[in-house]
């Protein structure tokens, strides 16, 4: 990976841009980033997910697969507290989600980068402003952060589109911008819902490399995807666990993946 080294930046993105690729991952026995203990989620009287017991350790890499409508997006929403479990104990960074107020959830979200399938943006802001939004919200939009932003936009191939408005972007550009926004604050966990669905093979590999680098720095990564080639490409580079949602339960997928 061709990363900028010794660029003098001090922001969170500079950390991974300037990091040593051989940086050892965080110890797997550290406290889990996200912990499910017999979690269930029901809506309108029907159970969507049941009996989920799972820990996402710092530095872990997970793929989430399953047929359309199986509950992948619901599972991801539970992971960033957009939904609250109807049963069981769900903890983010060791804090039970059930007792959190909205501000508590907001502060946790600053530690979790999320890439939505539909890539929502603020259409009145430029691409650069959208990507920098987590920094703006966290009050971290200083000079170093702006330099990080430029490097990150260049890395995802949007340097020339920094002043464009989101409606002017193609589907692939929107996904790249969404991924850049999710990682700009170098969060502890990154959750991505089909992040490479609209990009070509080269760009998907580039985005995967970005996620792998963040993972090597100890960030937990979870990618919901149908793209088996992406999973295979990742598994050749990182010890990834593949989860499959079937029959409303999350299972570890077989070795065929």
């Amino acid at each position: 990976m061709n990363r900028a080294r010794g660029s003098g930046t001090t922001g969170p993105v500079a950390e991974w841009l300037a990091s040593d690729p051989t940086t050892p991952p965080a110890p797997m026995d550290a406290a889990p980033v996200i912990s499910f203990d017999n979690v269930a989620y029901s809506y309108g009287g029907g159970a969507l997910l049941t009996d989920i017991t799972l820990d996402l350790a710092p530095g872990s890499f997970h793929f989430l697969t399953g047929p359309s409508g199986a509950g992948k997006t619901t599972f991801l929403k539970l992971c960033y507290a957009a939904l609250t479990p109807t049963a069981g104990d769900l903890r983010l960074f060791e804090q039970p989600v059930t007792g959190l107020d909205r501000d508590g959830v907001a502060h946790l979200r600053r530690r979790i980068g999320v890439v939505h399938q539909d890539c929502q943006f603020l259409d009145h802001l430029s691409v650069a402003e959208n990507v920098a939004l987590p920094l703006t919200v966290a009050g971290m939009d200083g000079a170093a952060a702006r330099r990080d932003l430029d490097e990150l936009l260049g890395w995802v191939g949007l340097g020339h589109r920094r002043d464009a408005r989101p409606p002017e972007l193609s589907g692939g550009e929107r996904q790249r911008a969404a991924l850049a926004r999710a990682v700009i604050v170098s969060p502890d966990a990154i959750l991505a819902d089909e992040p490479t669905g609209n990009v070509d093979w080269d760009m998907s590999q580039r985005l995967l490399t970005l996620l792998l680098e963040l993972n090597r720095m100890g960030r937990a990564v979870m990618i919901a995807t149908h793209d088996l080639s992406l999973i295979r490409a990742a598994k050749s580079q990182v010890q990834a666990r593949v989860l499959r949602i079937a029959n409303r339960q999350v299972q570890v997928a077989g070795a065929e993946l």
């Binding site: 957009a82 909205r102 501000d103 907001a106 502060h107 946790l108 979200r109 600053r110 999320v114 939505h116 929502q120 943006f121 603020l122 259409d123 009145h124 802001l125 402003e129 939004l133 987590p134 703006t136 919200v137 966290a138 939009d141 926004r181």
Partner: protein, 301 residues
């Protein structure tokens, strides 16, 4: 500084970057500006009415409060004796001071508005008036009436209370009406700002969803809306108050002789009062938008 005040100051101060996260909205801008301007214009008039009514009530109260009149109707040959007796009674009554029989010229001046300046007082059976004031301790009107009845049978005591009370009550009522109108004006402004803020928040549900996704707290999101509406209310109210002040300044002033309607205006330091109207409008908008934002953000959670 208390946490609440610090939070309000932080909400008002804000920063340019966080303000930009909320897209500019067309119709709510014009609605808020116009409403704030109109309400501030009316508030200046209500304020002027209240202050004018207050001045009038104070003046009527001061002028009539301590004055009283003794009217002596007696045959011409007994007039001097009864006036002398009345003066003696008054001068020896506790709580009475400045006792003085009105001169012929003064009585003529009092009657001039009704009968003209050439009234032949010496040929008409005009009662003699004795004016006096009461001290701060006051006097006993019932006791004085009894003494006068015994010693000056032609004397009638008029202590002005029966004139003063309804006038002061009317002026006080007007003053209360003015302050009530002010309260209603700011209440209406709060309602309009709440409506506009609700509309703006509802129109920006997706913006709020994105902001929450990236970790924005309710304070952060509400702050962007609150600052926008507060500034609009401040600007609109400043314009409305300026127009209202100009209109009040241009109203004819008939001086002390004026009644409440022709006396509407500001005197002395009272001209500073209208300067508080834009600040109050901004504070009203701040509180109204903050409450609306809290409610809408709660419902969107």
């Amino acid at each position: 500084m208390t946490g609440g005040v610090a939070r309000i100051l932080r909400a008002v101060r804000g920063d340019a970057a966080s303000d930009r996260v909320v897209p500019p909205t067309g119709f709510t801008v014009r609605l808020t500006l116009f409403t704030a301007a109109a309400m501030a214009f009316l508030a200046v008039f209500a304020l002027a009415l209240s202050l004018a009514a207050g001045r009038l009530a104070d003046r009527w109260g001061d002028e009539l409060a301590r004055g009283a009149t003794l009217r002596i109707s007696a045959p011409a040959d007994q007039m001097d004796r009864q006036v002398g007796a009345a003066l003696r009674v008054l001068e020896t009554t506790p709580g009475v001071t400045d006792v003085r029989a009105l001169s012929e010229a003064e009585q003529r001046e009092l009657l001039a508005p009704w009968f003209g300046p050439d009234l032949p007082l010496d040929r008409l059976p005009i009662p003699q008036l004795i004016a006096f004031s009461e001290t701060a301790e006051g006097y006993d009107p019932d006791g004085l009436r009894l003494r006068l009845q015994a010693e000056v049978p032609g004397a009638v005591l008029d202590d002005h209370r029966r004139w003063r009370r309804p006038l002061v009550a009317a002026a006080t009522g007007l003053r209360i009406l003015g302050w009530s109108a002010l309260a209603l004006i700011f209440g209406a402004l709060a309602a309009m700002v709440t409506l506009a803020a609700n509309a703006a928040l509802a129109a920006n549900a997706q913006v709020i969803a994105v902001l929450r996704l990236v970790g924005a707290t309710d304070d952060y999101i509400a702050g962007a809306f609150v600052r926008r509406f507060t500034l609009r209310a401040l600007c609109g109210a400043a314009a409305g108050a300026a127009i209202g002040l100009a209109a009040v300044a241009l109203m004819p002033d008939t001086g002390d002789a004026a009644g409440v309607l022709t006396g509407i205006g500001f005197r002395g330091w009272h001209w500073l009062w209208p300067l508080a109207v834009p600040a109050l409008a901004a504070l009203t908008a701040l509180l109204a938008t903050r409450a609306a934002a809290r409610r809408v953000l709660g419902s969107l959670a």
